[in-house]
């Protein structure tokens, strides 16, 4: 019998598959989209440096994606990646991490990396929950949702993290869901070619630790929910806050052309060197 080999399997570390992700999880879709994006762009994985934090979404590339993969501490991936990017400005430095990691414990690093406009490609996989620890409320969990640490109802409103990153000064911000896989791949390709801080919030599903407590028991139920709840940015512009309640606004939220941070740093160094040598 001939062995079936997926055309993109070469991008993965086959020796440690299968992944740790649960049935119905969106992490596989994100990995699929990312690998398709780099394949379409013909980016050599040798030029990708992946930095991740802690949580299910960090396990999308770490350890499965076959490039340099650095699996760091909870929330600090963006700060760690900043250190990598300033020395390796030509590399595609990529951060894939979750809502708990990037919007919760690492929220401040995310805001400041966006403000600095450091040339990272950041994919925030928002599954509304702390999945790896078993389903605790996260900064993006909807108001009223039942989780293991809000067993009666979530008393907090969720953070619109993509808007926060846009306001902080990122060069590119978009939001898509795992239902919009073609749009997501297209956006990932834009991000991977964009200079400056580039960010996609990928709304994803966690049927095991989140969905089962809010009536979305499997991946298909989530796909239907994302399809039904999504509104394009253009349409959303003409909707009131009440009308947008419970909706997921998808599309490109912002695109700027500010100078990338490491380039800016290098220009300053060059002008100092010129001055020092009396040019």
């Amino acid at each position: 019998m001939r062995e079936y080999k997926h055309k993109l399997l070469g991008y993965l570390r086959r020796e440690i598959l299968p992944t740790t992700h649960c049935p119905g999880c969106g992490c596989g879709q994100v990995l699929n989209a990312f690998v398709n994006a780099i394949d379409d762009l013909e980016i050599d994985p040798k030029n990708i440096i992946s930095v991740t934090g802690i949580g299910c979404s960090s396990w999308i590339p770490s350890p499965y994606l076959k490039c340099d993969t650095l699996h760091t501490t909870h929330g600090r991936a963006v700060a760690f990646a900043t250190g990598v990017k300033v020395i390796r400005p030509q590399a595609n430095v990529v951060v894939i991490a979750g809502d708990g990691d990037l919007a919760g414990i690492g929220g401040n690093h995310l805001i400041h990396a966006a403000r600095r406009n450091v040339g990272l490609a950041v994919f925030l996989v928002n599954n509304y929950i702390y999945g790896m620890t078993g389903g605790q409320v996260s900064p993006t969990t909807p108001f009223g949702a039942v989780t293991t640490t809000t067993p009666y109802s979530n008393a907090e409103y969720p953070l619109n993290i993509a808007e926060v990153v846009a306001a902080a000064g990122a060069n590119y911000v978009a939001r898509w869901t795992t239902y919009h896989i073609r749009k997501l791949i297209a956006a990932m390709k834009e991000v991977l070619q964009k200079k400056g801080f580039s960010f996609i919030e990928i709304v994803s599903q966690c049927p095991v630790s989140y969905g089962r407590r809010v009536g979305l028991r499997d991946g298909v139920a989530f796909m239907e929910y994302f399809k039904k709840s999504s509104v394009g940015v253009g349409t959303a512009e003409n909707m009131s806050e009440e009308e947008l309640e419970g909706k997921i606004v998808v599309g490109k939220l912002v695109e700027r052309h500010r100078i990338e941070f490491t380039e800016s740093l290098r220009r300053i160094n060059e002008s100092c060197q010129k001055r020092a040598s009396g040019e």
Binding site: R76, R88, N269
Partner: protein
Amino acid sequence: MKADPAGVLTGAHYLDGDFACGEGAMAAGCRFTAGYPITPSTEVVERIARRFPTMGGLFIQMEDEMASMAAIVGASWTGTKTLTVTSGPGFSLMMENIGLAVMMETPCVVVNVQRGGPSTGLPTMTGQADMMQARWGSHGDYEIIALSPQSPQEAFDLMIDAFNLAELYRVPVLFMMDECVGHMTEKVVIPPAEEIEIVPRTLTSVPPGEYWPYHVNGKYVPEFARAGDGYRFHTTGLTHDERGYPDMSAECQEKCVHRLLEKIKNNADKIVRFDEEQTDGADVVVVSYGITARVARMGVDLARKKGLKVGIIRLIVVWPFPEKRIRELAGNIKAFVVPEINYGQMVLEVERCAAGQASAICVPHGGGGVHDPNDICEAIVRAAK
């Protein structure tokens, strides 16, 4: 190899300890620094930020100390020599990623210009109360290297050693200054670059595809591959096997953590450094470090004038501790006297090593100033009885 002349400000200078420390880092080849302003350490990064551009160095002021530490660990994985600088409150925040650097085996240097604590404590005044935090501050089992300079000249000299040790053992090296040394101004002689010996990163000779990041081949320290060089390696803060892949088992934990301990413990004789003076025939030996070593010397002189036989051990490398020498001395003397600007930290280590053969007497000081040499003299007199 010899130091890159671009980073070496050869000549005789009049510098404070913070500036000398920054000069030491640049002479040692540090070309990336991330930091967050905190008294009394800020002058180190101010010096570096001003001087870096001409040597192609990059400084970033990060949003906090967690980010600073994370950034220097990240930059070190590109093969660059990296530094961050802080004081007590920031040192507490750095503990998380110091642990990451230990687990990933990342060379880097962390300066702590110690001030009085706990918490905000005495921001502008001296202390030495983070010595045990340096040893045990991050969670889990690990061994660490820490140095303590007693003067601006030593802040320069030992910084070179700190960077070299970080490279040799692939471990974060902690540079435990104190506010007094940081803010005192003295003559600092910076030698020519060709007289400064530098340990470069040990880059692997194994080609990509055959390389595993934690394959040590019977040695203590694995060979390094730089991120971005096409090795497509994996590294992690999780317990990992030789390939760097996570392995959640007691067997892997034993193998992984054991080597992290052994690479320092089994090389302690090479790492440990201290000054020793007149310990032959001494009844009392004073053990001290940093600014307190200089104050203690005055106390020792007073005691010697009274006819007492007093020896001195000055710790230069504080971790690993000179366990062997303290054990040897303990059999020959009555007591160790340990003045330090805390309520008794390194004295615990002296007491442990003395193991009841000699007493270990703490001369505490709460911080905000240095000891009165008379107090140290009195402690020596009492110990000699």
